[in-house]
């Protein structure tokens, strides 16, 4: 399979998360777990800092969690100008209890009413688009408004 994100690769950060984007582009939400000690390692890395293993199991998860933090962007920033027409938009940092409380970013979709830290969210996987720089993405929705 030709992956869209590979054709538009963003260089930056740790860069060990290809499997995350591949899975997402195939409609699955997966995070890496150390095959040695079971530690969830997010963002993905090359070696488990807890036990020293180099092997990870990319584990499918239901995209559910709670709001850990959020911000409403009110300015069209240069490097994310694809979203200029959507300003203001909310980005949520969601905590995933089933993955050792790993935190995963995503745009908030739907009503913002009762947006608060601790609120339950559910993720919808979106295919690559210009807005998400031709990467697949997760959009969070407040459970209260589903």
């Amino acid at each position: 399979m030709q992956f869209s994100y590979e054709q538009h690769r963003i260089i930056g950060g740790i860069g060990a998360d290809d499997e995350y984007w591949r899975a997402l582009e195939q409609g699955e939400f997966k995070l890496p777990r150390c095959s040695g000690c079971g530690q969830w390692t997010w963002p993905a890395h090359y070696r488990c800092g807890v036990c020293g293993s180099w092997e990870f199991v990319w584990t499918p998860l239901e995209p559910v969690g709670t709001v850990y933090a959020w911000t409403r962007t009110c300015y069209a920033f240069e490097r994310v100008k694809e979203r200029a027409a959507d300003v203001p938009y909310v980005t949520v940092l969601a905590e995933i209890p089933a993955a050792g409380n790993a935190r995963v970013m995503g745009i908030l979709q739907g009503s913002e009413e009762n947006l608060r830290i601790g609120a339950a969210v559910r993720g919808l996987i979106l295919p690559p688009s210009e807005k998400s720089k031709h990467y697949p993405s997760i959009q969070w929705t407040l459970e209260a408004h589903r």
Partner: protein, 387 residues
């Protein structure tokens, strides 16, 4: 006890004016040469004597470009402190270590920035190293990323939002007395603060640092040599850099989350220097955003989540009579922003007694590095009697 404590001192400060970003009449290399030469002349040292060159972050005016213009006799040591603004006091630690280890004798620590055609400084500063997780989800700027953390600081940790306003107002209050300050004409009353446009909630315009063209340099030498130069020395008591387990490049998966990531370096700084928060006379707190300034004060032990609202009040933060005079030049928000280097100059002026918002008889002067950075650092300077 640290082997660098009090063994070196800042003996010269050089600073170009702060220009509006993109309007410097000179390119950044020329600004850099100017700042280093000015710092040398102020100290009474020939620029050709500088044998160590240390900067941080994405600095491009490196030793090999500077030495022809400075008449450098020999470059003996050159280094860059990782990573962004977090590396500033860390650059001092490298300078002090190099001098104590006999690897250099006159070290310039500096930063120069001038916005080149169309490229915002904050984009240069990001060094094309922003993880896809951010960019895919509409996040690119430090203000947005640090807004996530500020929201958590206020909403989950219970720190009053008014502390952010107090940090900003102290900066603009001090700037009014500082002829160098870029924001000296702004009166930041409660109304002006509240009416400013929202950038990334909870941050409004006046919560954000400026971006300026300019350069700033300091000269570091051994304590022995410092005694015989023109200026009153600002001794480096401690300048640790680093990060505890749970920090680093973790794409918002850091622990702890909402403060400045400086608890570890602060603890080492207090231990190395032998001082405690109650001993500090004046503070220059790096603020990319006001919430990070609040986080730095918490990490350094000046207050806690619980009493931040009582401690971080405007009256308390202003010179000369506040208990915690903070950002007495106007700081990154109101004086100007050369990636935080202006704070180092002001920390030194306070010990010389030459600040435009002088804290009477200041002996211990603190400067914190870029908060919320993936690695960070902090520094404590003292007069001779604190050694």
């Amino acid at each position: 006890m640290s082997t660098i404590r009090g063994k070196t001192a800042i003996v010269g400060v050089g600073q170009t004016p702060y220009y509006k970003r993109g309007t410097s009449p000179d390119p950044e290399l020329k600004l850099c040469v100017r700042a280093i030469v000015d710092a040398c002349e102020e100290a009474g040292i020939q620029p050709s004597e500088v044998d160590g060159f240390i900067s941080y972050a994405s600095e491009r005016s490196d030793a090999q470009k500077l030495m022809p213009a400075l008449g450098t006799r020999e470059v003996r040591f050159a280094a860059l402190s990782w990573i962004h603004g977090g590396g500033i006091p860390g650059a001092l630690s490298i300078a002090a270590s190099a001098i104590v280890a006999g690897q250099a004798s006159v070290v310039a620590v500096y930063r120069s920035m001038a916005e080149s055609a169309g490229q915002r400084l904050r984009i240069n500063v990001a060094q094309n190293d922003t993880a896809a997780q951010y960019l895919v989800n509409g996040l690119e700027s430090p203000v947005q990323i640090l807004a996530l953390r500020a929201q958590r600081l206020i909403e989950a940790d219970g720190v009053p939002a008014e502390t952010l306003r107090a940090m900003a107002q102290a900066c603009y209050y001090h700037a009014r007395n500082n002829p160098r300050a870029y924001g000296r004409n702004t009166v930041l009353d409660d109304q002006t603060y509240a009416n400013a446009r929202m950038i990334s909630e909870p941050y409004r315009l006046f919560d954000c640092s400026r971006e300026n063209d300019g350069a700033c340099a300091v000269i570091v030498v051994s304590a022995e040599r410092a005694k015989h130069l023109k200026q009153k020395p600002a001794y480096i008591l401690s300048a640790p850099m680093g990060g505890l387990e749970g920090s680093g490049a973790r794409e918002e998966n850091i622990h702890p989350y909402s403060t400045a990531g400086q608890a570890g370096v602060a603890r080492r700084m207090w231990a190395e220097s032998g001082y405690a928060p109650k001993d500090v006379d004046v503070l220059q707190v790096y603020q990319n955003m006001t919430g990070m300034g609040v986080g730095a004060l918490i990490d350094h032990g000046f207050c806690t989540f619980e009493n931040a609202g009582e401690v971080i009040r405007f009256e308390n933060l202003i010179a000369p009579n506040g208990a915690l005079p903070c950002n007495t030049s106007g700081g990154d928000l109101a004086e100007g922003f050369i990636h935080g280097m202006g704070l180092m100059a002001e920390a030194v002026r306070q010990l010389r007694g030459t600040s435009t918002n002088q804290v009477p008889d200041a002996k211990l002067s603190l400067m914190t590095g870029g908060p919320g950075d993936t690695l960070t650092s902090t520094a404590l300077f003292g007069t001779e009697e604190t050694l």
